[in-house]
Structure formats: C-alpha cells, structure tokens
Amino acid sequence: MSRKPRDKRMSIDEVIGSLESGMTIGIGGWGPRRKPMALVRALYNSDLTDLTVVSWGGADVGLLARAGKIRRLVYAFVSLDSVPLEPNFQRARQSASIPEIVELDEGMFQTGLKAAAERLPFLPMRAGLGSDVLVNNPWITTVTSPYDEGHGHEELVAVPALRLDAALVHLNRADPHGNASYLGPDPYFDDLFAMAADKTYVSVEQVVDTAGLTVDTPVQRLLLSRMMVTGVVETPNGAHFSTCTPDYERDERFQRAYAAAASGSDEDWHAFHDRFLAGDEASYQAAVQAFTEETTK
C-alpha cells in the first residue's frame, strides 16, 4: 500500500455543496485576472444567499451582485480594466441593492488578509488615514503606536483581519493533493486568501502528478502548499473570461458582450444569462466556443 497524502480532487458541485448561505467567501485573482470563474458561475447558479464576498473585484463581483447573492461586499475596486467600470457592480451600487458595503484601500485589503493569515486581530498601517475609507467604515479604528521613533506615538489604522470561511482561487496547475503553481506574471494574493480561510478550494487548468509540477517550472512558482488546500477541481478554461496567462489571455470580445448585456436592458441580460449562464460549466464552455466561432468568422 502506498501511503500518499489525501487525494483532494472534487467536482464543482461538491465545492458549492460544501458552502453555506451566510458565509464569508474570498475570491482570488485581481480584477479581470485569474479569477476562479467556473466556481463563481456555479455560485451564481446556486441556492446560496447572504454571502459576504471579499474580492479585488472583477466580473466575479459583478455576477454575484447581479444574482443578488451578496449581503456584504468587501472590495477596494471592481473593474474589468478594458471596461473600467463593471456594469453589474455599478448597477448594484446605484440601486443600493447590496445591503452592506465595505470599500477599502487596496493595500488595506492585503493587510487585512495578512492579519487573518497570521491569526492576528489587526495589523497597523498608514493607508486609510484622512480618507473616507474611515468615514464610511466607522467600525475601522486607529491604534496608537507604543513606540516613539522620533515622530511621536503615531496614530495608525488598525486594519481588521479579513477572515474567510472559504477561499476560491484559480491557478494553472495543481497535483491531486492541493500543491498548486501559477505560471503567469503575478501570484496575485492567492496564498494569502488560502491562509486567511478555513477552507480553500483551488480550481486549475490542469491536474498533474506531483513530479509534473516542477518538471518544467521553477519551484518558486509553487504558490500553494497542500496544507492550505481543502479541494482541487480541474476546470479547463475555468478562469474565462479573465486572464489565465500563459494558458490564455482575457477574452476581450466576450467581455465586451458581457459588459453590453450587463449595462443593457433586463431583456439583454436575460438573453445573455439564458445563452451562457443558465446551465452547468460544460454548457457554458460549449456556448463560449460557439460564440467564438460565430464572432471570428
């Protein structure tokens, strides 16, 4: 008998089935980059409600806002880059349909994840001082430094820990045990999300055996250790339509279609929903393929 670490492979439905309404869910990636969209689409179609979503947001936030899944949103920005303002997020904010809004500075967001990952209640930081981040979030307070380094006892922001019940992240490769690597230009903060969370689910382009992780890739690209990971899901093209460099770049044409539907009439959105989002991941990918063939003719 081989004594190997656990095999953590699971299906998208099993991931969603392990989550509960009211949970705080962190979503990795950055804006329109390497977002765990297959898992987000499944959340969008799930019965889960009243979620606290913690994200440097892109279409993940847009989709979940449109589906009315978010009770509390923690973000520093929501953007699709080439479409600067995320239309579903904008719509949700302008109709005040998300009950609780926590807009942070993007560095504060990292510091909050770091505090959670280090099991600290807060970490001190300058960011936020003097800005409306502290006005709009009066529960975030300051702390006086016990040390005087020649500038007095500085009053710093006590950035609260952003603890997560679950983190969803998407990387390029993982082994069945949850060791995972990113092959693109930036790790983003997926390791921090993983360590800030009780459970971490990583979707990947490809599951390989453990030796395969470093056969053609420097060890420094192994961002997640299996001790941080609860489940592994293979979802090829699963970050679509965000980037997953080098497997694929952002699908700008599809993103434009998404943005047009999201900022159009209810009928426009329903048509987009029916065509792409109403089914499971396999039917989404098939519909995207048909869209690509149709629009590149």
Partner: protein, 278 residues
Amino acid sequence: MSGSDGAGNELSGAGRERGSGASAERTMSDSTRADVCAAAIADAFSEDGEVFASPMGLLPTLGVRLAKLTSNPDLVISDGESVLLGGTPPLGGKDVIEGWIPFRRVFDVIAYGKRHVMMGATQVDREGNQNISAIGPFAQPKRQLLGSRGAPGNTVGHRTSYWVPKHSPRVFVEQVDTVSGVGPRRARAAGSAASRFNDIHRVVSNLAVFDLGGPDDTMRLVSVHPGVSVDEVVDATGFALEVSAEVPTTREPSTEELLLIREMIDPKGLRFKEVPDA
C-alpha cells in the same frame, strides 16, 4: 491600470488655439497641446531621483517615459503589469526586464516610499483631495466609479500627482463627494502618521499646471498651457483658485523632446485620443 473614466468632450476644441507669442504659421516644430501636457508631466518627475514612477493612463505614461529619456534617467518604470523595464520602450512596447513588480510588491514599495504615482481624478478639490470612488452619496451613489483603489495609501505613503485630460468644473470641484486620495489639510487633521509622507506634488490638466502652494495648502495655478488664458482656466474650475498677478506659460517641449515623443515614445499618436489637437 486604472482607466480614468472620462466624461464629456466639451473642451476638446481648445487645442487648436495658439499663444499670441507663437508664430501664426504652423511648422513641423510646433508642439501640440498633448506634447505640452507630456512635457509638463515629465517635469513633475524630473527631480524625483531613483524612484518607482507609476503613471496611470496614457499621457502620464508618455510623460514619465519622456522624463526617463531626458531629465531623469534614474526613474524606475514598469509595464503597468508585473515587470520593471530596463529601457524606455514606446507605449505598448516591450523592453529588457530589470525587475519583478507583481501587485504585492507594489504595496511593499508604497510602504517603502520610493514611489511617485500620477493617478487620474474624476473629481479633485481646492484642498487637493481626489475622488475615484463614487459620485453623489456613498450609500447610494449617482454614479459608482472604480472604488478608492490605492489612492488612500498612495497619498499618505509617498508623492502623488494627478492628471486630468478634460478640465471642467465637474472635475475641479469645491469639495469631492468621496475622499479617495487625501490632500494635505485632511492629512494634517489625521495626525503626523498621515501627514509625514503626504506630498501632493502637481495636478496637470489639458489646460494648465497646478500645485498646492496656495494659502493653507490650497490649489494654485502654476502655469497655463500655450494658447490658454488664465480666465479660461478660472472659468473651467469650480472653486476659487490661487492665481498670482503674473501667471507664466507652461513651457513648450524642446525639439529633442518633440522628436522623442513623436518618433520614439508615441509614433502612433495615441496621445491625441486623450488630448485632441483639432
């Protein structure tokens, strides 16, 4: 990285007028308004030394690269994504890589302090506060923008400048609706931890250059671009500007700078999409 969300095009005709001192006949060496803006942005970075220059948007990127090729070759620049560039490529171009700057290291550099960012501003006010978060009440905005992004941390961490491609009273307002970027007065009120590194350096618009050298750190007109009158700037500004008796004209780019802008950095003329010449 952050597309500043431009609204309205009402001032795009202003680029045609020429200063009375300039020759009536337009020649190859005439600079356009976009060229003047690029040089003014470059000047904002000329004395920074060896710091990470982070331009958001097109004209700031052009201006920073111009500074790197002329007044400040020590500037550290990136591709706006994740690598530091050893040379100075054209807009959208590649170059030798001299370092790695994923987003997590950008945050490290903000805290470290060796950075000068030039951000956009959907609103900027008399006290140098900036808004890229929301227009109208924050609880239910009339218009949700990007979110505060890194503006709160940038402005209490290191030198920050702003670029406004379409100067109007809707952008230059008495008081911003949401304070994303912190001006000096609010930084002082928040204590020394906020004010120690608060350094709002320049605001460059398509009409003029500003700093916060007015009374009690309020916005002051530093220079008007060639062909723009002081009255025009005052009319397009929604608050009382500090204006001295003699307002200088923003310098025209040198022949060398014009060559660099036109032939090396922006041969495709992308700058005219942001600051039209006609």
